[in-house]
């Protein structure tokens, strides 16, 4: 086996994503299935209406969170496969030179799907731990009859087994695509720096300071990292801001769950992004320090280019959650029987979330700036 499960263990970011996605989806879908079973017992038209609302809002919630997280998982998985191939170029090239076919090598990438399986299985289990409380709170207004909690095996299929298989297949297919390069090119590690010429130079002022140039080129050099950092702030804003409205429209439990998931996802993606930025730029940082740039200048040049992206992500995340809230509430409108919760854009929540995000982000950056300081010059220079 070329790729060991140990390598897949490094993909804990994917496991965390899947954990969150499956946790949410399982709770809502399982309750939907269970509620479908009790529909016959409901006679009161108001209760029937409420029943349908709960079911459709559950569908929406799991579609939105599950969908968004699945998409992000795809991006992260592809990123990891590419990263693995980039960092193991020469070994993979030698395998190819020895006569291993692309398929034979690519097949071993199925292991990456294990991270999906682990996360999804844990998320599924976690959902069952939370569901008794979730069910109790759902019928707290006494309008709906008691819904017995049941285990629905079909969900294991859809939320754990199929995703794991699909992601394994994706890893294999994508790695096969990436391996379609001559063995020698892989062994020599011919650098694949994307070369962007005159077009970009035309846009810049001719004599921007070097550190600014470096900052911009660092951000531009890898789109996936920009996406991760954008996603971290987007996710944080959407879920934390929304969680402030939850006690009003749903429950305290949803509020905690939502904020918790948002923070976990934001921290995970930030972690993936920032460690990759620093590892990928270790040589550059070492050279800067050899030449006499201070630790602060290095940290700023490498890390601070991403800050504006987080602001954009945060703004969009707040707007997105507002849109979601309006959409969810619009499903209730026109139904006089139900008391509509008041909702308007929660400025206070937005400001509190923003401040807490900035604090978290800056602490993160400080921690990693300190890591930059500890990159050993000599080791970096002696590599190769």
């Amino acid at each position: 086996m070329i790729i060991r499960p140990k390598d897949a263990a490094k993909l804990f970011g994917i496991s965390i994503m899947c954990f969150c996605a499956v946790l949410i989806s399982t709770m809502f879908l399982n309750s939907n299935i269970d509620m479908a079973r009790i529909k016959d017992q409901i006679t009161d038209p108001d209760a029937l209406l409420l029943h349908d609302m709960v079911v459709s809002s559950g569908k929406m919630t799991s579609a939105v969170t599950g969908g968004a997280l699945a998409l992000t998982t795809v991006v992260i998985l592809l990123f990891y496969v590419k990263h693995y191939i980039d960092t193991h170029k020469s070994e993979l090239g030698i395998l190819k030179a020895l006569g291993y076919s692309n398929w034979k090598i690519a097949r071993s990438f199925w292991v990456f799907g294990l991270s999906v399986f682990t996360g999804a299985a844990l998320g599924f289990g976690g959902a069952f731990a939370l569901m008794p409380a979730f069910y109790r709170q759902m019928r707290s207004d006494e309008l709906l009859p008691d819904t017995p909690l049941r285990f629905n095996p079909i969900l294991v299929m859809y939320l754990v087994v199929l995703p794991a298989l699909a992601f394994s297949a994706l890893a294999v297919l994508y790695s096969h695509r990436k391996l379609k390069r001559p063995a020698l090119e892989l062994i020599r590690g011919t650098s694949n720096v994307r070369v962007k010429k005159a077009k970009l130079n035309g846009k810049q002022k001719p004599d921007a300071p070097f550190l600014r140039e470096l900052k911009q080129s660092t951000v531009r050099s890898r789109f996936s990292l920009v996406f991760f950092i954008w996603f971290a702030s987007f996710c944080y804003a959407a879920s934390v801001v929304m969680s402030f409205s939850m006690p009003e429209v749903s429950s305290d439990m949803m509020a905690v769950l939502m904020a918790g998931i948002g923070i976990v996802l934001a921290v995970t993606t930030l972690f993936i992004a920032v460690t990759t930025v620093i590892k990928g730029n270790a040589k550059t940082i070492a050279m800067l320090r050899v030449f006499g740039y201070s630790d602060r200048e290095c940290a700023r040049a490498i890390l601070s280019g991403y800050r504006p992206i987080t602001y954009v992500g945060f703004a969009l995340g707040s707007i997105y959650q507002h849109g979601l809230m309006l959409m969810a509430l619009s499903m209730f409108i026109g139904n006089d029987a139900l008391e509509l919760p008041d909702y308007s854009f929660h400025w206070q929540a937005c400001i509190i979330s923003f401040i807490s995000f900035v604090v978290m982000y800056e602490i993160f950056m400080r921690v990693y700036a300190a890591k930059i300081k500890r990159i050993p010059l000599k080791e970096v220079m002696m590599e190769e």
Partner: protein
């Protein structure tokens, strides 16, 4: 002037300990060109790193214009490198995402040197300003790294096997550029090599063996890279 006095350096501890430098002393006067010659593993790079403030010796002192840089805290050591020294390495270590112009600017900005494009011209890369390192040959990349080091107006230039990754002819060309620039600008230079044939282009040849200086000899008349029988 750099005065290295009784410096020692050991890597690792216990059974894995390697004494890379054993009580080495060396003086680098202003404007000279010194070559450190010796087999692989003899401690040349370590001596270069200690002389240039990249590493601290375990014992001994490194006096530069009256300051013992071996005793400076990290921050001041960085500032020392910024002001005084330039580096050229065998593996070039250019920044891959930046073009030739910006790579040289990395050195130039440290010295507030606005006229750095002259140096790019001087190493013969005036027409490659907007090329990226991956688009250049080895010799061209090494010339970029020379321009980068010189753009910061160093008092001392340190070179660690600068021609190690180049073919003979290209190596000669690169050495010729360096030699001429040093004569024209008058900085001092310490170059590490394991190629004895190159030694004649220097003023002083220092031979090292297993962490010690075993021989030191002056050349009456420095030769150019094209005169030596390499």
């Amino acid at each position: 002037m750099i005065e290295i006095k009784n410096t020692s350096k050991t890597y690792g501890t216990g059974e894995n300990a390697t004494a890379a430098l054993k009580d080495v002393s060396l003086t680098v006067s202003d404007g000279v060109f010194i070559v450190l010659l010796g087999a692989s593993g003899s401690g040349k790079s370590t001596l270069l790193h200690i002389a240039s403030g990249l590493e601290r010796p375990d014992s001994g002192s490194v006096n530069v214009d009256g300051t013992d840089i071996a005793a400076l805290p990290d921050k001041e050591l960085t500032a020392f490198r910024k002001e005084k020294v330039g580096f050229i390495f065998q593996q070039y270590f250019l920044l891959p995402n930046l073009n030739v112009d910006k790579n040289v600017k990395m050195g130039a900005d440290l010295a507030g040197n606005g006229g750095y494009r002259e140096i790019i011209e001087a190493v013969g890369l005036g027409d490659k300003l907007h090329k990226f390192p991956s688009q250049l040959s080895g010799g061209e990349q090494q010339r970029v790294s020379i321009a980068r080091a010189l753009a910061k107006n160093p008092k001392v230039l340190f070179l660690d096997e600068p021609t190690g990754a180049l073919d003979e002819e290209t190596g000669r060309q690169v050495l010729d550029y360096i030699g001429n620039l040093q004569k024209a600008r008058g900085f001092s230079m310490v170059m590490v090599t394991h190629n004895a044939n190159i030694a004649e282009i220097a003023d002083t040849v220092v031979k090292m063996n297993s962490g010690k200086i075993v021989e030191m000899a002056g050349n009456e008349q420095r030769k150019t890279a094209y005169e030596i029988g390499w």
